[in-house]
Structures are given as C-alpha cells and as structure tokens.
Amino acid sequence: MALEVREKQPSDVETEQLATGCEAIAEAIRLADVDVMAAYPIRPYDGVMQAAAKLIANGKMDVEYIVADGEHSQFEIVKHACAVGSRVFVGSSGVGWFYAMEAIAVTAGLRLPVVAICGNRALDDPGAFGCEHNDALAVRDLGWLLCWAETAQESLDFALTAWRVGEDKRVSLPVAIGLDGAFLTHSQQIVKIPTQSAVNSFLPKFDLGDRLLHPDNPITIAPQVDQDWLMEIRMQNDQAMRKALEVIAEAHADFKRLFGRGGENPYLDEYMTDDAEVVFIGQGTLSLPMKVAIRKLRKEGHKVGLVRLKWFRPFATADVVKSLSRFKAVGVIDRDYSFGSPYYGGVLYNEIRSAMYSVEKRPTIVGFIAALGGREIEQPMAREMFDKLTAAASGGLKSGDITHWIGVRN
C-alpha cells in the first residue's frame, strides 16, 4: 500500500543546502520571480546559468531563459526586457564582461535596474581563468552599483538586495555583484534558503511606473539630447547614486529584520578591529585567508584587524572614513591593478587614499597588489604584508615605495 506523503512546499520553510556561490544566486533568481534572463557561456560566472537552467528544466521556476549569441546580445536582451517591465538577470566574466561593455554602459544611462553578476576572472591575454577584479571594476564610473560577496550566503543575500535597491524608484540603476571566480562561484558552502513569503515581504514587485515601454504609455526612450540636456541627465544619475547609499541602508535594515543576517554596517564588515592598531582592507573572498592570518597574528599579540568593503559603488565615504581613521596604518589589498596610476597602486588603494585625504589625522596607507590571476593569498604572503604594514606604521614609509606586489617570483 502506497503511503501518502504530504511534502511541505519547499518555499514554506527556510532550508539549508550545500551550494556554490553560483547555485545560491540561482536560488535568488527563483525566489525573486525573475522574468527574463540571458545566458552565454564563459567561465566561471556561467555556473549560475547552468544552475538556473536545471531549476527551469525541473519546473522549479518560470523564467524566460534566452541563450544569446554573445555577451553584447545577452546584456541588450535583458535591457530591453527590463524596459517593458520584466525583472531581469544576466552576468558574465572577464573578457566576456568587456564584450558586453557597450550594452553595460547604456543600461546605466537608461536607468534600467538590470541585475548582473560578474564572476571575476582575469582579462586575456595571456589566458587565465582565475580571479581578478578588473573585469567588474570597469563599471565603476558608469552608474552601476557594485558590490562584492564573501560567501555563497552573501551572494544570495546581495542578489535579493540588488533587485530591491536597483528597482527602487529613488535609484533606478543597474547593480553588479562581484563573485570571486572559483573561490566563490564554484566553492560549496552551507546556504540558508529563505522562504518565499519572507522574500515577498522584502522584495516588492517591479514597477517601472511612467517609464514603462508599452502601447498604453507611448513614450520615446533615449532620444538624441546632445549638449542641450546631457549634463542635466548625468547629474540625475549622480543624484541617484548618492541616494542609493540611503536605500542600501534601508534594505540592509529590513533584510536584517526579516532574515537575521547582514552584519552591522550595510557597506562594510569589520573583523577584530576593536582594539586594532593596523588593519587590512579588501573585497570579496580574500577576507577568508586574511581572517586566518589575523587570528594567528593576534595569538602572537599583534593588534591587527580586517575591514571588508561590501559596496564599492556607491562608495560609502563617510563610513569608510569613520572606520579607517581609528587606525595607525591601513593596508589596502587589491586583487586588481591600475597600471600607471598614482603611486602605481591598485584601484581600491587609490579610492581609499582619496577618501582619506580630508581626514586630519589620517593613517598611513600602504597598497598591496596580491592574488592576481586566481592565486590564493597564502599565509606567508599575509605575514609579509603585515610586516610591511607595521614597518610603514612605525615610520618606515618612503613615498614611491608604498605599493607592493606580493608573492611575485623573480
């Protein structure tokens, strides 16, 4: 005799599952009731498209899943689907992200809240699959919000937050989520999958309002404005980006209330900083080996901590300044490069230096370029960075010698 088993709908209860960063994002796509997504293969971001395809094939979600003919088409397809009122998702990695760059740029100009992940990958040439942040960082000046996840859980959480913040009428901007290639896109962790009803209370329905492209609302979108109006429109983008800081904070508070996670500060996380004299700051998964290193250094009696920047755009200047001005020295770890930049520093380094300029008693800031092309930060490298940072803090700093490449063979 067959036993009738009434399964609880999986969306009624919060579950835990082992998921990679990519699989966690696919769950977020399901929970957010995304309407259109566009896929094109490039490693490592495409794990999310594979995971989503499985969910669709197994009837777990109803999304228009379009396999595009290239990244440019991928981003154009979702841009246009978004303009008629669809909630959309897209993504890419490395040179694929760059192939889409024209579409990426106009999406911000159009103020369409496309959500994309960038599975961070080194740019060709020479070829490398591994993680570098230069792909995602290419959108930093365009009007895309940009955040970096640390764990698979945070990938899911950021994705839900991305639709909420991007689609908010005060913002109306696209959002990119950086996921460190391999370290996060393809590493499994335990992830809490929230309930559908909790997600529904967090994430309102997408409504473009009077900007919807529809025969009932016959508007002309993106005409030629030329010098007549472009500056005013650019300034509106700037204002939206400023407003985004506040909207992120609201979303963060709501997220914490509903899901009980998200850390103290919406824009950055601190680790062992309470009595710290020197800290490192970086983005993404490099926090994980750095936390191990910091625990070791702490055991030896060193007062060292870590700040992890979650949102790169908008840059939470006030919060970053408030946090970092408490320390004697700050070591900025860039998983990127900016050849020929001031002091030959990485992108984050120069952003931090710029933010700290107006602080009266500012810390010594040292730049480290590390873990490019998919290399891990190994413990001896963390030690080397710590030694250089403490030397700089005690007055060993010479101008011109403040950016260090770490772990480079001779």
Partner: protein
C-alpha cells in the same frame, strides 16, 4: 514545416492605395533630409503595423535624425537600441512581453514588436544578433533593415551594402585609384532566408512600391515568430542626386534587376512587383546604366566599370538559382537528382 507562432491576426492585406490606413503614427518632428526614403519606410512601417506596436530603433539616420529630444515624431512607443543590437532589442522586448503576459503581470494582448536597423547596423555590426533572433521562433518580432547603402548618418562611409565602385567618404575616387571600393553588395535578405528555416517571413521591399512594402510588413507581423524585411532606400545625400528623384531611383533599382523584390513565406519564395514581371518575361530588364548614370556616386565610372556592374547583375539573373535570393545554382549532372529544373531565365531577362 511551419512552426507554431502567434501572429497578430488583425492586419488584413491592403488592397490598393485607397485602402491604406489614414492614421499617421510617424509624424512631424523629425529632421530627415529632403527626399529621404528611409523616413518614408518608417512612416509606411507603422502605418502598416498600427498603434499597438513597440518600435526599437538602432543607432543610425533613423535614430539621430528622427528623435531629437522633445520633438519625437513617434506616436507609438519607441526606444533606442545600440548599433548592433536590433536583433537583441527585438528579442528582449518580445520575450519580456511574452513572459509578463504569461504570468499575468500585464494584459494578454497582441503587441507588435518591430526593431529597425540601417545597413551598417544590420548587415555589418548587428548581423549576428539578427541571425540569432531569427532562430528564436517563440518570440514575435519583425526586424526591418532600411538600407540606404552607406553609413549615411556619420558622413556617408561605405558599408557591406554599398554597391560596387560607389564613391563614399571611405572610398573616394582619386587620381591613382578610380575605384576604392570593389566588394559586391552582401546578399542580406537572401542570406537571412537561406539561413533561418524557421523564420516564417523574409522579404525584400522598396518604398517606391509602397503598398507592396506595407503588405510585406503586415504579412510578417501576421505570420508571427521572428521575421525580417529588408528595404532599399534611395538616399539623396549618400547617392548624390536631386531629392525629387528618390521614388524614380527606387523604381529603377527594381526595373534594372539590381534589387529584386520577393518574399519567402514558410520556405516558399514568391517574386513580387516588377521583379515577377521581369522573370516572367513580360517586362524587359532595363540596363543598369539607366540607374547608375542618375547618381553622383557612380559619376567616376568608366565604361568597363559599367560593363562589370551589368555583367554581375546579368549573372545574378542567369546563373543564380533564384535571382537576388540564392547566389548559386546546381550542377547540370545533379539537377535531375535534386529535382531542380533550372529554366534559362537569361533569354527573357537580358536587359533591353
């Protein structure tokens, strides 16, 4: 085999000029040149499709000249898309509408989606995305390529649709080189028809045959799925002639056999207008010289250039499997095997 699509089902064929809808959905406010046939194509296009239409316009003349902020000529909803993105714009818009209707987020109704591109945006940069869209049979969209045979918006530079030998700013005629541009025009509609067996409608039209063009647009939208219409648009500025002769040059392009009019419906090719009459032998093809001599862009042509041009057009009519569509024929020994009876068109179709 026909594929299942969802055409609009509301656009009957126009029987004659008196049957053309009165409503104008592309109105004043644009700043296209005098004699611009592409602007006429835009007007005919939305006249044919009606008000329940979303138009996506990729960068080019019909973007820049048509949509100055505050003076849009579009009565229907209109959105810009990037130069190479007409295919993706059509696909994304159609997919968005489809899923929102399926999920009950917007009203389920017939909405036409038309994405247009110029010859540069369509036949050069955007050909990949157009090709992809023409394979997505689940989405209803029409891609209209308005071909004025150059990048006319950026100063008349040559594109893959610029005819052999024509002067453009990238192919001036100089003392050392009479012809800078010696590539033959890419066979875009034929390529789209041959390469996308599940597209239900591919056509070549011309605004000089306005009712024929409007009916082609209606058929495309009626049949549904991804469809493609390519129009040849005389351009006074790019082709260097007086604006009053635009329609005449459109007629000549067809009558000389340079631009055959046809449509491929569910894999069946029909010749239309004068092209059919030429193929039937009821009308003599005019010599290409009649067409070339009216345009400044061919003013530098020597006799041998005209001869080469004529010979290539003749070859299209005598040796291609279908003139203007399939640019090859079948070997004699295989004609029976493939049950293809290639009748010699060349006797009937030699220019007068």
């Amino acid at each position: 085999m026909a594929v299942e699509t969802h055409g609009t089902g509301t656009l009957p064929q126009i029987k004659g000029v008196k049957d053309v809808p009165y409503d104008e959905l592309f109105v004043s406010g644009h700043r296209t040149c005098q004699g611009c046939e592409s602007a006429l194509v835009m007007r005919h296009m939305v006249k044919a499709s009606g008000p329940r239409t979303i138009v996506l316009g990729s960068t080019g003349c019909m973007y820049v000249a048509n949509t100055t902020y505050y003076t849009t000529p579009w009565v229907v909803p209109w959105m810009h898309t990037q130069l190479g993105a007409s295919g993706s714009a059509a696909l994304g818009t159609a997919a968005g509408l489809k899923v929102l209707m399926r999920k009950g987020k917007i009203k389920d109704e017939k909405i036409n989606v038309i994405a247009f591109c110029g010859d540069g945006g369509g036949a050069d940069m955007g050909i990949g995305a157009i090709s992809a869209t023409l394979t997505h049979k689940d989405y209803n969209s029409l891609i209209l390529l308005y071909d004025n045979e150059s990048y006319a918006n950026t100063d008349i530079q040559l594109s893959s649709q610029t005819p052999y030998g024509a002067v453009t700013t990238f192919s001036p005629s100089g003392s050392a080189k009479r012809l800078m541009h010696t590539r033959w025009k890419k066979n875009m509609p034929g390529m789209m028809a041959a390469g996308h067996p599940e597209s239900r409608y591919i056509a070549a039209g011309c605004a000089a045959y306005a009712v024929d063009l409007m009916n082609k647009i209606r058929k495309a939208l009626e049949l549904g799925g991804p469809t493609f219409v390519h129009t040849l648009d005389p351009c006074p500025k790019g082709w260097d002639y007086h604006p009053q002769y635009s329609q005449e040059l459109g007629h000549l392009a067809v009558e000389t056999g340079i631009w055959p009019l046809y449509e491929v419906i569910d894999g069946v090719c029909n010749l239309t207008g004068p092209t059919r009459q030429i193929a039937e032998g009821r009308k003599k093809r005019k010599p290409v010289y009649e067409y070339l001599k009216r345009q400044g862009r061919f003013a530098h042509f020597a006799d041998e250039d005209v001869e080469h041009f004529q010979a290539t057009v003749d070859k299209m009519w005598t040796e291609w499997l279908i003139p203007g569509v399939i640019p090859f024929t079948v070997a004699q020994k295989d004609q029976t095997l493939l049950r293809i009876e290639k009748r010699p068109l060349h006797e009937e179709t030699k220019p007068a």
